[in-house]
């Protein structure tokens, strides 16, 4: 038990040291712009279909599940606002981040893990190319910037899903639906939710890179790196979300 706790704290410490290096390396040239854009394409663009499908289903299901309760209280007209608020403040950021943890963090963990065990990272190092700068900085930056964009996208698609959900049982004009949503939203609903998505993106990229970079003991560790990247990133998302909600509650 004590040994297991010690291992957990050692792992947290080592991840923090690995992450600390990012803030030093990110400002040091050469800037790997080409690799960064490639990663933005892989992480952002290639995740769009998955995020779109889950976003749409989230909006649709949330509307269908909430409707009966609101009807009971005669508050059906609040449905667009409630769905939009739930999506934007909590559901879309967390679910999108979890999907990204499963798709992106594990992908990075497996890719870098396999590069590590086949000595490709060492080959980069001995040819005087900084592998941290080329592999980690680019991926973490791309994740940090792309996850918030994916969340915005999930918000929008989720709202469309909600519109479809409302129209299954009634007939609501899209313009009116949108007006109701805009009226029910405030700046403070958007701001903290957006800020936390940058942290989600950073953690997803960083944990994937850390697990890949520290893979050892042959090909078995590649699978372990991918697996533990998903588990750790998912858990970290919930912890960050909890802290973010507490801070929001305290200040706003």
């Amino acid at each position: 038990m004590i040994l297991s706790l010690k291992n957990i704290f050692t792992e947290i410490g080592e991840t923090a040291l690995f992450a600390k290096k990012f803030f030093k390396e990110v400002f040091i040239p050469p800037y790997e712009t080409k690799e960064f854009l490639k990663q933005c394409y892989i992480i952002g663009y290639k995740s769009l279909p998955l995020v779109a499908i889950t976003g749409f289903i989230m909006g649709l299901v949330l509307t269908l599940q909430s409707r009966p309760t609101l009807v009971k209280f005669g508050a059906e007209s609040w449905l667009p606002g409630m769905v939009a608020l739930s999506l934007i403040r909590e559901i879309a950021p967390v679910i999108t981040a979890l999907i990204c943890a499963g798709k992106i963090s594990s992908g990075i963990g497996a890719e870098l893990g396999s590069m590590k065990v086949t000595e490709q990272i060492d080959a980069m190092e001995v040819s005087a190319v900084n592998p941290y700068n080329y592999l980690v900085v680019t991926r973490v930056l791309a994740c940090t910037l792309m996850v918030p964009i994916l969340v915005f996208f999930a918000d929008a698609i989720g709202i469309i899903g909600g519109y479809v959900g409302i129209n299954i049982h009634g007939d609501v004009n899209f313009y009116r639906f949108l007006t109701q949503i805009i009226q029910s939203l405030e700046f403070l609903d958007l701001f903290p939710a957006t800020i936390k998505t940058f942290f989600f993106g950073f953690v997803i990229g960083m944990i994937g890179c850390y697990k890949g970079f520290t893979a050892s003991n042959g090909t078995e560790s590649v699978g372990q790196a991918a697996n533990s990247a998903v588990v750790t990133a998912s858990l970290s998302i919930f912890i960050i979300d909890m802290v973010a909600v507490q801070i929001t509650d305290l200040f706003f």
């Binding site: 050469p30 396999s114 590069m115 000595e119 060492d122 080959a123 190092e125 001995v126 040819s127 005087a128």
Partner: protein, 259 residues
């Protein structure tokens, strides 16, 4: 220069004894008690091909990985081009790394890149002012040196073991290093391909005037390439000499490598 001529020539006509790598009292322990290196002393002279023999786990690969800073030793001194690589900054170490090529056992080609991209990658990182035409010219020249110009558009997964080693060597050569460290260059290859790789090592030495440390278990490779051989045993240098000298060594354990 034909390969046949290369083999018949004396390996070093005039020995230049200028040391370019000097290792003194190198120690490395992994974990609490797995001492791999227990005081290795080694010198590589300019223009020399030094072969390192030893049983698996005797610390051969660890020694050359210490030279390029992949593994940090616990104790000792490593001088490359008269610079102690253990006491220099990262940027100074990188300057030395450009001058010291390293061929990994597996070739360590970047899986996600084609052969062309593998070779151009290192080049573009160090010579950022090169035009696309100049990069292409250098890539093709390096590939021609290893006799694999036709593989330029292939992916690493499409290459055989021998081809991967050759491309790995071409990638190492593209920066025109003065020293090349070979980590078991012929392991896992058939006899014919092993001989081709050994001949290539010799060919590169003559064409590019490189000095090399070659770690191998392949005695045919050692015979063909070695100017001098050292034998590592339990983390220290156990024997040293030419192939012919060690073949007749008094120590039966040393002789067993040559049987």
């Amino acid at each position: 220069m034909t390969k046949e001529k290369l083999h018949k020539e004396p390996k070093t006509k005039e020995k230049d004894l200028t040391p370019i790598i000097e290792i003194k009292d190198l120690h490395k322990t992994f974990g609490k008690d797995n001492a791999v290196l227990k005081g290795v002393n080694l010198t590589l002279n300019k223009g020399e091909d030094l072969v390192v023999l030893g049983r698996s786990g005797s610390g051969k690969s660890v020694t050359i990985k210490c030279i390029v800073g992949l593994i940090e030793p616990d104790q000792g001194e490593i001088k490359v081009f008269n610079e102690n690589v253990l006491n220099i900054s990262k940027s100074e170490l990188n300057e030395i790394r450009v001058r010291v090529g390293f061929l990994f056992q597996s070739g360590a080609l970047y899986d996600s890149m084609s052969v062309r991209e593998n070779l151009a990658f290192t080049l573009t990182k160090h010579k950022r002012d090169l035009s696309a035409d100049e990069i292409e010219k250098e890539v093709m020249e390096a590939l021609e040196n290893v006799g694999l110009a036709e593989a330029v558009d292939k992916m690493p997964s499409e290459l055989s073991g021998g081809m991967r080693k050759r491309i790995g060597l071409a990638r190492t050569l593209i920066l025109k290093p003065e020293i090349i460290l070979y980590d078991e260059p012929t392991t896992g290859l058939d006899t014919i391909t092993s001989r081709e790789i050994s001949e290539l090592i010799l060919d590169i030495k003559h064409k590019q005037k490189t000095s090399s440390i070659i770690i191998t278990h392949d005695m045919a490779c050692a015979k063909l390439t070695a100017d001098r051989i050292i034998v590592l045993k339990e983390g220290v240098i156990h024997a040293e000499g030419t192939y012919e000298e060690l073949e007749k060594d008094e120590d039966e354990w040393v002789r067993s490598f040559f049987e």
